[in-house]
Subunit: 873 residues, 2 copies
């Protein structure tokens, strides 16, 4: 028979997929002799069985749970529901991959009207016993019975008011008994049943609630964002309670073995005396820094420091540890690899290599490439910051800089963000309900909570700027305002947050490029040693090209020429070219454009030096350059001296039913060869000038878009060669260039052997290739893609995540066929997928030579390419 | 060294690709002992070399030609340019595949101011000699020197007028000498050189002209229409002259061994006494029927009959024979397999099987499937014909019926045809310059020319209705009118032609379905025995379904349901369904449509009996059903009681950037499952009713369009099954059905193994598959496809001719992957390519089970499927 329940001492850290992360680590800590309260874990397989059985815990599993419970009673010498010395347990979820704050926890389970007396007797602390019972009813009602929390809070506040006390800890036993009476009334009213008194029933209800919470809305969203499969399931940990709220010699805390924001090698965390469980992370009372424990309880602190060192060495990674002190005795409730910012991740990984704890490959694998994103985005400009008003300062909970309009709840914010607003979420404190808002916001500001509060932990995980615990602001969520020093900030007002300092500024702030630290460069150089894929950039301007080089670009994989056409001083000539009714008129307009294009290319070539530069010839349909509405057509008609009616007719005539599938890309050059001729002339002339003036041998690669038939490329290649060679022959420079094509039309992939006859390189344009392969227009898919995601037809938008099955198969076919014709054909990708780590892994596997992505994603791509090598060893 | 010139006696009929059809057959006739004037053939390889050498005949080839000329002189005992007994030759093109009227011919070559005297002496007929010289100069000037023919005609007419003679044959020697003098003046004036007197020079110039004519515009068009490769080249036949114009005991003629219009086994042809070469087919003088020769020259006639029989038996096919009688001696100048109408082709093939000349497979291969087209189109309705005015009668030159507006030249006609007009080309006589007009016209009417005139031969080849030699009409091509009995018909007036009777009617005439004769049915039954592909039809209505069954359809491969939605009484409900803002409203509208859809299906099911019927669920984007302009939106807003603004907003909101790639096909069912549910309910209810009332077990196949991802099909299959089964369970009939999908999205083909998990059949939708694979929108490709054809990027529009390389590769991939998952998966094609013989061959090869095409193409598909078996043996 399958085993669904494991005592802690039966497990170890390798059993994560069965016991969940928390359960496996509790088992491991017991194994290495650390003080962990005993307990047992109900496995993830039990969770899956629960769902397979129609959301029902089978009798077998129930029997196994009670068997382990009995063992726990023997072990602790306490009995469940006992009138003298009751066993109390915590019930906690424990997913395979840590999902902070997403799952529900119940403490003090086992208390009822009898065992609360037993607890009082056993601890000699009646107040503590009733406070625990009060907490238990509140928590169980919230999590298991789904009664809204504020109803209990109101009673607590009322009792505090009527007794004129400030803190929960000031409440007397009688106060607590009153509260419990009132709490029970609420339960009776809301559930039509009395609060469950039978501890075993409480336990099963709690376990079911944990299983149930695996599929609550916020858990699903979290898994979706983080690519956690639904079938993983969660384990449930049932652990005998220890009490941090047993008085002033008790406490509870959370600490990281290194600083999770910076990576600094120094214990980092917080604790609260006379507090239980979630009090620390919930941010309701503001906790003390961990170093204060040294003064409060030196021995316990020393013991904790030793434990922390031991755990870090044992796990060879920075640990995030939860502990409780019960009457000066230290208990460990959890350890796990700590979440950290990208900066911290890099510093920790590099430090650990230098401390001989891990090797370089391990260090590289410690950094999720996507995580680097948070390092690569701008910070505020110093100067601007000095001129603007700093209104307050909170905790620098997650680094980065954010500017946007403020919103006070996730709904309003998401709505604004969907309309393209930059946004800041302002909350008293955040909770899992706010997740969607946090995803959409540029930054998060909370009035309450510490560095390990929900807002801080989640924001760091997302690489999102967060300022937490900013106590000076008075947030009124109902009226959507906050006040500070008498000033009022309303919904929609601009605010700027500096996640590195915790500073909050009124108004908008300009940003600047990130500086990349020494450890960053070191880690990148290790990645560069390992990776085999080259990393190029998509860049259309000298500025982008320079940024990309700074980030480590080894070439340009896609330089689009159409954006150059839109500039103000050029667009009239572009439009003249389009409405030209014969070759002469068209040539005249093109000749005006030639010097501009040449200057563009000179700038880019100089920026790139002797790195390869792939220039794509004009791609979009011509009507994209023409005005759309009557007013603009009238203006243009005057500008270029063509009658309104003629112009209107031309505009109408150029409209297409399906522009995506229309007269664009190389089709333009089949009908109007003059356009590509001008572009080729401009690039060759630019290369000549850069050679002459800077002695740079430009590595020019001329790329033809939208090829579907080898003859298209054959014809256009001839055109390029004759045009280029004419310019070269009239100069005294020896300019060399390659000619290749985008592979973005399915037919090109399917006939890549024929196309390779005329192409020295292929570059996969996975944006269009995805559109054609799926027969999805990116512009129109919005109408149904939501439903597709909801029905799990695909997990991710195929425009964000490469469709390896379909589009990927075309890429593989093209790669194989292309190499069959030309074994040294150069292969790359320049679609947006080129910056996505998963796609980079795929490109590595199928044997591409480079990926090309936006400048800011280059370090991500460098790291992902190293990951690909290691993962595919 | 390569041999570029062959004497006739060196060749045989198997050497067509080298000697051309004419040369090979001349050789063959000599081989079997028939009277053929001796000569030699310059090969097609010489023609290709001519082009490879930059349009120059190499010295080697010239030497070889003169060597053979010398042999010919010895052979004929005549000398080239001789003053006493000169050798004269004809120079004729001879392509591999017969290209009637497209190539140029020169007779009497070798004549000059000296040899004309020699010819007079040798023949004792001075008039004949000068007439021959006159003809030679005229022909040589036209064909070789490119001088416009009318200039010579004018001189001839002037001489006739001033001498007051009617016929060319009445001209005296002096007349002819005058004419020759004037002709030479024209040549001098036009070419700045005297008419070439050196016979060898004449010969080389003529050969070059033949080579050159291989690439004249009309030859290129003809090859393009008839899929003749450009690299075939043409041979040149140089043959010693015999003279049909040597007096009243001479003549020339053309005859078919069987009737080329009907297939009747009876010599069919025409001859002209005292005439030369092209006089018969050029239609300038009206010739006599071949049977008249029996009276004129009984012995020659008998000899000819024997020769004709011999040739037909030798070639095992109906022969088209050219002959000349020189002083009562019969010479054969050409034999070839005769062009024939489809009806004749069938009758001849079937008769020859019954005469034990050929076997059934040969008979089947004798009919080009596409040729059947002409048999399968409507003829005029008898009744209507009796009511309408028959204005005249011509020769029934090519069968069929045509109604349309008249045009007097190809340009005007093509323009009108491009605007969608039905057209009739009216000409005095046609010439190769008219080809494009003939292609575009519904029918052709000529005033002059016989059954073997240019118009008649070409029209039969095209399967186009033609009435020729209609002498009563007076055609004025300049003023674009024709007169008959004082009535005037202007450009744009309606006319109707009956190609089977030669009758010409004023006005428009309704048509009726063709009757399919006994031999047709016989041949089809032979094809059916051989073929392995099933033939289905694309039919959306009971009427189409019945027509298809009559033509031999074995099922429906594509029944589109969207056309049903457009009917007047339904469209309001369709629109209500579309603008519905919630499921209830949508269901209400769909419930209105349900009975209509049910009735549609009942009609189709009854028509098809127990043949399989594949019904495709709704495919087009919903906005196609909504009005487009403000006026119509206003009308609709009143009809359905929805405010104009709301409606306008809905219409605008449904517009898409790329509807082809938008919210359509199965995507509609992912978002609005109710639509497919209604359709499925309607088909199952219809099947139940047809079972109950007619005891027909409907073979229903439900087809889902636009699948790109297996999950789409998984979800929709569940929807179909649950909907269908609910209806079935509530009835007492056991309806069975299959569920399958279109393969029309590249991704579906690439992931066909996954998709086949949920599909019992695949049907290739090659229309959309071509659009997606090429990234061409059919609606927009017009803007550039002309240039693509011109630059030979593709020979044929890929929407007409299946792209076997690209789209075909996807079909092969899908076929293999589909079978891997489900070995018994049913595979078919329902794109328009399903009726194209070349695509049918491809479908046979890759292992599809059926093709589906329009009803009128079914016999073509049946025959093509048999061809595919034989061709791929």
């Amino acid at each position: 028979m399958k085993k669904y329940v494991y005592a802690f001492h039966e497990g170890n850290k390798e059993m994560k997929s069965l016991l969940g992360g928390k359960g496996a680590n509790l088992a491991e800590m017991i194994k290495i002799g650390l003080p962990v309260p005993p307990g047992f874990t109900v496995t993830t397989e039990a969770c899956n069985k629960y769902y397979d059985d129609g959301q029902k815990i089978s009798q077998d599993i129930i029997d196994e749970i009670f068997c382990h419970l009995h063992e726990l009673e023997n072990n602790t010498q306490k009995r469940f529901g006992d009138y003298n010395n009751p066993l109390l347990v915590s019930v906690r979820s424990g997913a395979v991959v840590s999902m902070p704050g997403m799952m529900d926890t119940i403490l003090n389970l086992g208390l009822n009207d009898e065992s609360v007396i037993g607890l009082a007797k056993a601890t000699g602390n009646e107040r503590f016993a009733y406070d625990s019972y009060r907490r238990f009813i509140q928590m169980f009602s919230d999590v298991v019975l789904n009664i809204q929390k504020y109803k209990f809070d109101n009673i607590l506040e009322k009792e505090k008011r009527s007794s004129k006390v400030q803190l929960d800890t000031d409440l007397t036993v009688d106060n607590l008994k009153n509260i419990i009476k009132e709490y029970k009334k609420i339960v009776k009213k809301e559930t039509k049943k009395a609060f469950p008194q039978e501890p075993k029933k409480q336990l099963l209800m709690a376990i079911e609630a944990v299983f149930g919470s695996w599929n609550n809305a916020r858990a699903i969203i979290y898994r979706d964002i983080n690519d956690i499969p639904n079938h993983y399931g969660t384990a449930v940990n049932v652990q005998s309670m220890v009490f941090g709220n047993m008085g002033e010699k008790s406490g509870t805390g959370v600490a990281f073995t290194r600083n999770p924001a910076t990576g600094e090698k120094k214990l980092f965390g917080e604790f609260l005396m006379n507090a239980q469980g979630e009090d620390v992370v919930a941010g309701i009372r503001t906790p003390q820094p961990i170093c204060e424990l040294k003064n409060t309880m030196p021995k316990v602190y020393e013991q904790f420091v030793n434990v922390a060192n031991l755990l870090e060495k044992h796990y060879k990674d920075m640990q995030d540890i939860e502990f409780t002190i019960e009457n000066e005795k230290l208990y460990l409730l959890q350890t796990r690899n700590g979440k950290r910012t990208a900066a911290a991740a890099i510093n920790i990984a590099v430090d650990m290599v230098e401390e001989n704890i891990i090797d370089k490959e391990t260090a590289i694998m410690r950094i999720e490439p996507a995580q680097l994103d948070q390092l690569l985005h701008p910070t505020f400009e110093e100067e601007a910051m000095q001129k603007i008003e700093k209104i307050t300062q909170g905790l620098p909970a997650s680094p980065g800089a954010a500017t946007g309009r403020i919103y006070f709840n996730a709904n309003d914010l998401v709505k604004a963000a969907n309309e393209g607003e930059m946004t800041i979420l302002v909350r008293l404190e955040t909770s899992p309900e706010d997740i969607e808002g946090m995803v959409a916001a540029q930054g998060i500001l909370t009035a309450r909570g510490g560095m390990t509060s929900h807002a801080a932990v989640v924001a760091r995980g997302m690489g999102k700027c967060c300022v937490a615990g900013c106590g000076e602001i008075k947030v009124d969520e109902i009226n959507k305002v906050f006040k500070i020093d008498g000033k009022i900030f309303k919904e929609g007002d601009y605010l700027s947050l500096d996640g590195n300092t915790g500073n909050v500024y009124a108004g908008k702030l300009p940003t600047k490029e990130p500086e990349l630290s020494g450890n960053f460069a070191k880690l990148m150089s290790w990645a560069d040693e390992i990776r085999t894929l080259k990393i190029r950039t998509n860049a259309d301007t000298p500025k982008d090209a320079l940024t990309a080089v700074k980030f480590g670009a080894e070439g340009i994989g896609l330089c689009r020429t159409e954006h150059m056409f839109f500039k103000e001083e050029r667009i009239p000539a572009v439009r003249q070219m389009i409405i030209a009714q014969n070759v002469e008129e068209r040539m005249k307009a093109l000749n005006k454009l030639l010097p501009f294009q040449k200057e563009d290319f000179i700038g880019i070539f100089e920026a790139m030096g002797e790195r390869p530069v792939t220039v794509r010839l004009l791609d979009p349909p011509l009507h994209e350059f023409l005005p759309n509405n009557d007013e603009d057509i009238k203006i243009l008609s005057k500008q270029i001296n063509v009658s309104y009616n003629t112009l209107k007719e031309i505009v109408e005539d150029l409209k297409e039913f399906n522009p995506m599938l229309g007269h664009r890309g190389c089709r333009l050059a089949i009908t109007y060869p003059e356009i590509y001729q001008m572009q080729v002339r401009a690039m060759i002339m630019a290369a000549i000038q850069v050679k002459k003036q800077k002695n740079i041998h430009v590595q020019l690669e001329i790329m033809v878009p939208l090829i579907g038939h080898e003859k298209e490329l054959e014809i256009i290649k001839k055109l390029i060669v004759s045009t280029a060679n004419e310019v070269i022959e009239n100069s005294d420079e020896n300019i060399v260039y390659k000619i290749g094509t985008m592979i973005e039309v399915p037919r090109a992939a399917l006939t890549a052997d024929d196309i390779a006859k005329h192409a020295e390189f292929f570059s996969f344009g996975t944006n269009d290739l995805t559109q054609m392969t799926y027969a999805f227009s990116r512009d129109d898919a919005g109408r149904f893609i939501g439903e597709y995601r909801k029905k799990e037809i695909f997990k991710k938008d195929p425009f964000q995540r490469l469709d390896k099955i379909g589009v990927g198969k075309l890429m593989e076919i093209a790669t194989q066929l292309g190499k069959r014709t030309r074994s040294d054909i150069k292969l790359g990708i320049c679609g947006e997928h080129g910056g996505d780590p998963e796609a980079i892994d795929f490109c590595h596997k199928i044997g591409l030579h480079y990926v090309s992505c936006s400048p800011y994603r280059i370090p991500i791509a460098r790291l992902a390419a190293a990951h690909a090598v290691i993962n595919n060893k």
